[in-house]
Symmetry: C2
Subunit: 327 residues, 2 copies
């Protein structure tokens, strides 16, 4: 069913039908209604792709997330989708994984589909290779990075200041009498390194000796593992900050199993303030890095960009600590 089929049956031309569909003025009431009826009768819907071809717009937004298992990123993706959907855009959400090849491939898909905007969710995208791909394949559309930044004219970075947040976390632990505070990264991503900086800032501030550790990954099991390592290497550790909630949950379990009371002997803090915090027992204290706010900001910035309005290149959000049982 095309616009021509409708036109033929309505006894008018395709352009008239087009006008009716798009609510353009200058159509006789009578004609308009006749066409409307047929549209209804055949359940006609214009082919967006064909329309896009002439209007030079795909109505597509690409959202790339590094890892599906990070709930946090999914949440962000779908908040953005919801906002864009309201404005008639469709979102293509794709998990790129960590390899540059798939990252390139998926960025290319966005180019092929003529996406009108792109969102990269996760600090993993703060790499030179991704920067090169964006520059090469998406030089003309607005790109927003949630929790990251790339120095390119069409890219806006939206970043929760986790460095400052982790600094505040050290303050909190210090105020509770903790002095042997460790920090466990789940990998050397840019975002994690900035958390680490915050940790080091805090420790320096109080003249404490840093205790840095790095887990093999971001699963619960790997969190347990690194915790055992920490506690066996430095049994007097009285607080551990983890770069992500899930490893912190593993930390809770390992610590309890090793005979530590949480939080009396050992305080535990995660990052993301995810649903896991309330499922774990004791409930996990976590740094809220404002997914919702940053995602909504991302959507807003993207829209401004698509409308060719000038946008900020870098936006910083503040975090806050949500205290539960583990501190």
């Amino acid at each position: 069913m095309t616009i021509y089929d409708i036109a033929k049956e309505a006894g008018c031309s395709a352009s008239t039908v087009s006008r009716v569909i798009n609510n353009k003025p200058g159509i006789r009431r009578e004609t308009r209604e006749r066409v409307r009826e047929l549209l209804e009768k055949y359940n006609y819907t214009p082919d967006i792709a064909a329309r896009g071809l002439v209007k030079q717009s795909s109505g597509l937004i690409g959202i790339l997330i590094e890892d599906l298992r990070v709930l946090h990123h999914l949440e962000s993706a779908f908040i953005i989708e919801r906002e864009m959907m309201k404005l008639g855009y469709c979102c293509i959400i794709m998990p790129t994984g960590f390899s540059p090849e798939t990252q390139e491939e998926y960025i290319r898909v966005l180019e092929q589909r003529r996406a009108e905007g792109a969102v990269l969710v996760g600090s993993m995208f703060m790499t030179e290779t991704v920067k090169a791909y964006v520059e090469k394949y998406l030089p003309k559309i607005p790109v927003v990075i949630v929790n990251g930044y790339l120095d390119l004219p069409n890219v806006t970075g939206i970043i929760a200041d986790e460095r400052e947040g982790i600094g505040k976390t050290v303050d909190l632990l210090y105020s509770k009498g903790k002095r042997n505070i460790a920090f466990a990264l789940d990998g050397p991503t840019v975002s994690n390194l900035s958390k680490q900086e915050g940790y080091l800032d805090g420790m320096r501030k109080y003249g404490l000796e840093p205790r840095l550790f790095e887990s093999k990954g971001k699963t619960q099991k790997e969190g347990e593992q690194i915790t055992r390592e920490i506690l066996s290497a430095m049994p007097d550790t009285d607080a551990i900050i983890y770069s992500v909630d899930l490893t912190a949950v593993g930390g809770i379990h390992a610590a309890v199993q090793e005979g530590y009371r949480v939080p009396e002997d050992l305080s535990i803090v995660g990052v993301d303030n995810s649903i896991y915090c309330d499922i774990a027992r004791p409930r996990l204290t976590s740094l809220n890095n404002k997914v919702e706010e940053s995602s909504e900001t991302a959507a807003a910035v993207l829209i401004e960009g698509i409308r060719k309005k000038p946008v900020h290149r870098k936006i910083i959000l503040f975090t806050d600590i949500v205290e539960r049982d583990t501190t």
Copy 2:
């Protein structure tokens, strides 16, 4: 940069360029290479939408999920996406929520975008209204429902036999000496009602009195709430089966708080075998309803359908119980 721009610079016609792009035979080596170089030089990528217009294919697959918060559905969606992606399709994943209006709206979007196939994830889509929408808007493309079924010629249902699975769960609990087994639904969805049937089957089999309850929703908090209700109404309850993991986790917490030992005094079982099972303490026993298998099947069936091959209308998968600490 269009195919014509490339053609002009290469000193040939657009069709030649098209042939090179699509690796068609019958091009002189020399010409092919010259074109290839230009393609490379300008980073040219064909406009998929324009190509789709002539080839009558959008390369788009729609995936509708009822609720984002159900991890289970997301997982399914992304497994399907991964499979379809391998074959060059792009997926539009959209959360419809529960209102018929948004369901209709999103199904319409799939029609507008000329999706070549659709997947509905969740038993919430087993309604007469959704059936009517599918019949009206998507009558000609293959549609697969994960965890559901609609009697329409182009629809395939893929269903984990949770009824049988919950029956087996009752068997397990009975074998552990439990006699006062309760069942807590998180809402009267078709899928939940079939779980309930399985529960009733099991109770009948052993001549036990059923104890049916229904929570307000599927959050952890609502799981806690219904558990308190159950335990205060029938304190001798010695096992509770929940229709979903998250409410079961709430159940664990409420039970422990009420002074029940889990599993000695009270066994707890969830459904979905999600990540929550291992985060909770004690670890939650859960019915594995095979997301992965059913999602992969969904993708396979969809592809067969797109290729116009005959497909089964209904596929049943078997579940199994993953025992952890709560039984």
